[in-house]
Subunit: 366 residues, 2 copies
């Protein structure tokens, strides 16, 4: 049922989306401030359940694109993602009826809300990744037949590129990344123009309300001095995702991070407090794999997320620092992201990892 | 006066345009074959004098973009530049009334003719560089106030990007180059949409008929066993360009060439047959500077072109080979390309050369 997002919802939503963001999708704080300012100014945001979207409505995915390390140095003004939408609409010759997030993530759950607040368009409760993933072809929209292009890409200087690669979403990503790199490493996009019927077939449904719930149970557990990690596990059990578990707790002892080709790639090592084991995380904007020596603990598209060991506050890959005390938490991926078609696009081998996907539940069961 | 280009005109036009192309603008042979095939198929090309273009006509510049070394490995099918035009028209919501070449050059005088032949649109006798130059902001259209964008860029796979940077033509070049690199190093563009009135104010006029004349006098001199270089000098004397001269004759003894960032940069050294002197040419797609040790012989925007020592056939920078016997020929640039505004955009310092422009006539006079 359509609901109106409240100012008080936003911190919970941003927190929960950052949990699902698996280290990527941008810093939640920046996005939270931008959207809060809109609501404080009296603007409203209506969120539609996917089932409420008209089959012939035009829905457009909204996001920032680029290296999260750059976003925190080059904070958006707020007009950029609206400009991208407007230019895509002009290109299509049709106005959008609703916005949908591209992915879950701290900033990338907020960018579409910003567009919704500024344009008055409703936002669809769902997204195209069910987490964050680093490349634009890695969306369930595309996996299940929607063309990502035409895509509009813009920056804070009002420069716009509209790219059309027909049904070839990998080429769309390739050119869009090139433009984003030349825009200074971050851009704002409007992509995957689709019908309401396509949203119902291809989106991961109700991930915004899930993010809101996850963020809320973390906050409530903190307030009530309960274990926020247990609250997460309990909350996830009743969702499409199903399984959540702590992979390990310890201290960040090493972070290696490099920005190239528009991505931030690297590894982080987390050592148990007693030094008994070390887990290595591999990331490309988002965490892709967690290993304990030879032992695989979790792998993409299952979600690997790093949370503060006390507060369960999500920590993005660009914010990982030596000495942080963290829990590495994993969440099993929903069925729509486990099909052969989905795994071909965002399974481990799509990232050059020489591993097959093994479901988290199976790995966790030993 | 409007004229219809004849099949027999094309080899002369391609040859003369490649002389003005200063080593760039693409291999003339490929373009010649493509356009000849159109005329053999019964299509016609009407060429308009700039004065004949209606002031409110929509005129679009047409070209290939990228490294000439790539074009000879990735020969165009012919649909690419038409697709770029059609997508720009769709973006503008208005059909073009005429085409204008972006630059003079072997292939880049032919690409707009191909578009003219395939679409039936007339081609304007003029261009935006009066020679070839490596970057899109280096057009007199832009120097005198026309926005280069929106620009449509496409490749042989039907991938299209439409880029809009408002009046910022340098940024247009920056993004368009990035897309071109990701398209494999060569693309086809439609850019600088402008009115007929703007064409009259900003284009270098009648460079196609000049190219036709230059190519013709070379051929006729060969046929009549006269000196083709003297024929060039005589022909240029009565034009906007005015001054042409041989800088030196000798053998190519060294070529250093590297493809990076979408350009071919390098140097070529030409030694006199008796070894008495060596001239070094610096190029970025096109020849930029000719030096004999400390002595400057010619520098951009004056035209430096390498011609076969016997036949005066133009040799593009990507075709320079050890052992070729060549003349290095220079042509003074027209007045519209010598203003402070023009020199700021395509004078020596725009290429990172630590030199001021000294007119060829002055250098040649010693």
């Amino acid at each position: 049922m359509a609901q109106t997002l409240q100012l008080d919802d936003l911190p919970d939503l941003a927190r929960g989306a950052a949990v699902l963001g698996t280290g990527g999708g941008g810093d939640p704080y920046i996005g939270l401030r931008l959207v809060s300012a809109e609501l404080e100014r009296g603007r409203t945001i209506t969120m539609l359940d996917p089932d409420e979207v008209d089959d012939d409505a035009l829905v457009v995915a909204s996001a920032f694109m680029g290296a999260p390390t750059v976003v925190i140095e080059k904070i958006p003004g707020g007009d950029e993602p609206v400009l991208a939408l407007r230019r895509l609409e002009a290109h299509l010759g049709r106005a959008a009826d609703a916005i949908i997030p591209m992915e879950c993530g701290g900033l990338n759950s907020m960018v579409p809300l910003l567009v919704a607040a500024r344009t008055g368009l409703p936002i669809v409760d769902g997204d195209g990744m069910g987490r964050a993933l680093p490349e634009l072809q890695m969306e369930t929209f595309g996996v299940y037949g929607v063309s990502g292009s035409p895509i509009a890409i813009c920056n804070e200087r009002g420069h716009v590129a509209v790219i059309d690669t027909g049904p070839d979403n990998e080429s769309m990503e390739w050119y869009a990344r090139g433009v984003t790199v030349r825009m200074g490493g971050v851009s704002y996009i409007a992509e995957y123009p689709m019908t309401g019927a396509q949203v119902k077939e291809t989106a991961i449904p109700r991930t915004m309300t899930l993010a809101l719930q996850l963020g809320r149970v973390i906050r409530q557990a903190r307030e009530q001095h309960r274990d926020p990690f247990q609250a997460l596990v309990d909350c996830l059990a009743d969702t499409l995702y199903g399984h959540g578990c702590t992979l390990m707790e310890g201290k960040v002892v090493d972070v290696e991070r490099r920005s190239a080709d528009g991505f931030v790639r690297g590894t982080a090592r987390i050592a148990a407090y007693d030094g008994s084991r070390t887990v290595e995380l591999t990331f490309q904007n988002e965490h892709l794999m967690a290993r304990d020596g030879d032992q695989l603990l979790a792998i993409v598209p299952d979600l690997i997320t790093v949370l503060d060991a006390e507060s369960a506050a999500p920590i993005t890959t660009e914010s990982l620092r030596y000495g942080q005390r963290v829990r590495v938490f994993a969440i099993s991926t929903p069925p729509i992201m486990r099909t052969p078609a989905a795994l071909a696009v965002f399974g481990p081998r799509a990232f050059g990892l020489d591993e097959d996907w093994i479901p988290l539940e199976k790995l966790a069961a030993g």
